[in-house]
């Protein structure tokens, strides 16, 4: 993919993990049943994602999604899928917070692999403010869908 004359910045941004998730998205496609759903847009570029969450016993049982967008947003959704499934809801929300904190860091934060898993590959994205929204699109949908799922749980 990258060649010898590829600027270093580009290599730092597009880590192999990101490109791999982009080419081979894990868990993509919308699945039933689900407990909460959210659709998010990036008004700057028209990217969009629809994401569903299924809960079982206080844990994230499935995250399914359909994403239309750039490599960063697609890869972020794929990494998210891998990371949160099986996690408790509050742990998953903590992952969201850590990832959001990393994205807001303008490249100044040492990413925590224990908290973020493959998510650390996105550290370079935080240096490009215009791309942060791309990385967060799937996470924003995940948070909203989970909140919706919990609300439905309380009601139903």
């Amino acid at each position: 993919m990258s060649t010898a004359d590829t600027p270093v910045q580009l290599q730092q941004l597009y880590q192999d993990i990101i490109l791999d998730h982009y080419k081979h998205p894990r868990g993509s496609g919308l699945r039933e049943p689900f407990d909460g759903e959210s659709q998010q847009y990036n008004p700057a570029c028209g990217d969009e994602i629809k994401l569903r969450v299924r809960l079982a016993g206080g844990k994230i049982a499935d995250v399914s999604y359909e994403a239309l967008g750039c490599s960063i947003s697609q890869a972020a959704a794929s990494v998210l899928h891998e990371q949160v499934i099986g996690a408790g809801v509050s742990d998953a929300m903590k992952m969201f917070d850590s990832f959001a904190e990393l994205m807001a860091s303008r490249g100044q934060l040492e990413p925590d692999e224990d908290a973020l898993g493959d998510g650390i590959a996105f550290a370079g994205v935080s240096k490009y403010p215009a791309r942060v929204k791309c990385a967060l699109l799937g996470w924003a949908a995940f948070k909203a869908a989970t909140v919706a799922a919990l609300a439905a749980d309380v009601k139903g």
Binding site: T6, Y14, L19, C45, G46, D47, I72, C134
Partner: protein, 449 residues
């Protein structure tokens, strides 16, 4: 006479107006073009359609106005107030003559977006107040506002909102597959109050058939508003000859400052039109019960206006006139042709919009199979090349053309053929980086060196 209004002018012609531009000399006037970006890459600025860079003549004019003449215009009788008012009004005159209209027909606004909103809100004010003198601007339920599917959001959302406020219906001309306004897609009706459309698309570069659209609007007695944001900076344009009622453009896209835009309105119309913003400077007589308004253009310039920006835009117009808009247009045409040919020769690249230079300006949008525009833009940025990626504030047009986003290169008089070649090389680089086919199987051998 062309049917588009771009390419004819009574602007002062410089001697030797067929001479190609000396881009090296022009570039020397633009301080920002010497800087580097992303770790030492020379800046290749191909985003002038979003905002253009300013020559030192414009920066100097702003600075010297502020250092020597700054005061609130049209207020006070001291010497600085006089000088500032003169500078402001002299700029208005030069800007008006640049687009072939009278100074009293030029209203300064913050930008083109505000200029369009000014007309839209004046129309709803006319509707609310129901002054018989402003009946031409009233919009009632059942009336129609007509736009096109190719519009920038600035010439779309204000009309949606006007319709929502008044109960009028928004209708639009569709767009053909190559991004041109489809004249067969809509018939105007006697209820059409206004037809608003872009002179040159900020995505496809397509130049609209202004004469035909004006003729159709006239047949049903509708007003015409022209969004000239992308035409005025790049070619000679004369609003009087075009016969439109209103036209708008932004200073920051034509080597001028940000914070200044222009609304042109035909004299009789501005005279009859109620104000949008009200307050100081736009009044004739104020009593506690009631106020009468100043004649245009002051009626539409409430409050202390932007001044150094107006002076700066005057200097930008002087700069463009000194170069000659015909030469600017010819130069950008050369760059556009080279870009189109170069992109066409790369397998896996799709040009969005017309691929030939017929009724087409210097905006080239494209997509690369297998590379999202955002990612392509990132690769170009890493090489120092600034382009716009996304939907360029024309989301419905992208949706219509079946794409989510595109990459857009736009040109100004300071761009060079070498920069075009760097863009083309950058596109190939993006293909290689993302491992998509295309760069290897070049459709035909082109020399871009």
């Amino acid at each position: 006479m062309t049917s588009t209004g771009i390419g004819k002018t009574d602007q002062p012609q410089t001697p030797g107006s067929s001479m190609p531009l000396d881009t090296a000399a022009i570039r020397a006037d633009f301080p920002i073009l010497t800087r580097t970006v992303r770790d030492g890459k020379p800046l290749v600025y191909l985003d002038s359609g979003a905002t253009s860079q300013r020559p030192h003549q414009v920066l100097d004019a702003e600075r010297s106005f502020l250092e020597e003449h700054n005061a609130a215009v049209h207020r006070g009788a001291h010497q600085l107030a006089e000088e500032a008012t003169d500078a402001y009004e002299a700029a208005r005159e030069r800007i008006a003559s640049f687009v072939g209209v009278g100074a009293d027909e030029v209203v300064f606004t913050k930008n083109a977006t505000e200029a369009i909103n000014l007309v839209a809100y004046s129309m709803s004010n006319a509707t609310a107040v129901r002054d018989p003198a402003a009946a031409a601007f009233e919009v009632v339920p059942g009336d129609e506002i007509v736009i096109t599917e190719a519009e920038h959001h600035a010439n779309l959302v204000p009309w949606q909102e006007l319709c929502a406020r008044t109960g009028a219906t928004l209708r639009w001309y569709g767009v053909t597959d190559d991004g041109r306004i489809d004249l067969d897609s809509l018939q105007l009706s006697p209820r059409t109050k206004l037809v608003a459309f872009t002179h040159q698309s900020n995505v496809t570069g397509a130049i609209s058939p202004v004469n035909e659209l004006v003729t159709r609007a006239r047949q049903v007695g509708a007003l015409v508003l022209l969004d000239a944001c992308q035409s005025v900076p790049n070619a000679p344009v004369n609003f009087a000859e075009l016969g439109v009622d209103f036209a708008v453009f932004s200073g920051h896209k034509m080597l001028g400052p940000s914070g200044i835009g222009v609304l042109y309105g035909r004299r009789e119309l501005l005279e009859a039109m109620p104000p949008f913003l009200t307050g100081g400077s736009m009044i004739e007589l104020v009593r506690m019960e009631r106020t009468t308004y100043a004649p245009p253009p002051q009626r539409f310039e409430a409050g202390v206006p932007m001044t150094s920006q107006a002076v700066g835009l005057g200097a930008a117009v002087d700069y463009l006139c000194a170069v000659g808009m015909d030469r600017v247009a010819a130069h950008e045409r050369t760059l556009t042709e080279r870009t189109l040919a170069g992109l066409e020769a790369i397998a896996g690249v799709q040009i969005v919009g017309p691929t030939r230079m017929v009724n087409r300006g210097g905006t080239v949008a494209f997509t690369i199979d297998g590379v999202h525009p955002h990612d392509a833009g990132q690769v170009l940025d890493s090489l120092g090349i600034a382009v716009r990626v996304g939907h360029h504030c024309a989301w419905p047009l992208h949706r219509r053309l079946g794409i989510q986003a595109s990459i857009r290169a736009t040109f100004a008089l300071y761009n060079t053929t070498a920069e075009v070649d760097q863009l083309l090389a950058g596109v190939r680089k993006a293909q290689r980086f993302f491992g998509v086919r295309g760069s290897a199987e070049v459709k035909q051998q082109v020399s871009t060196r």
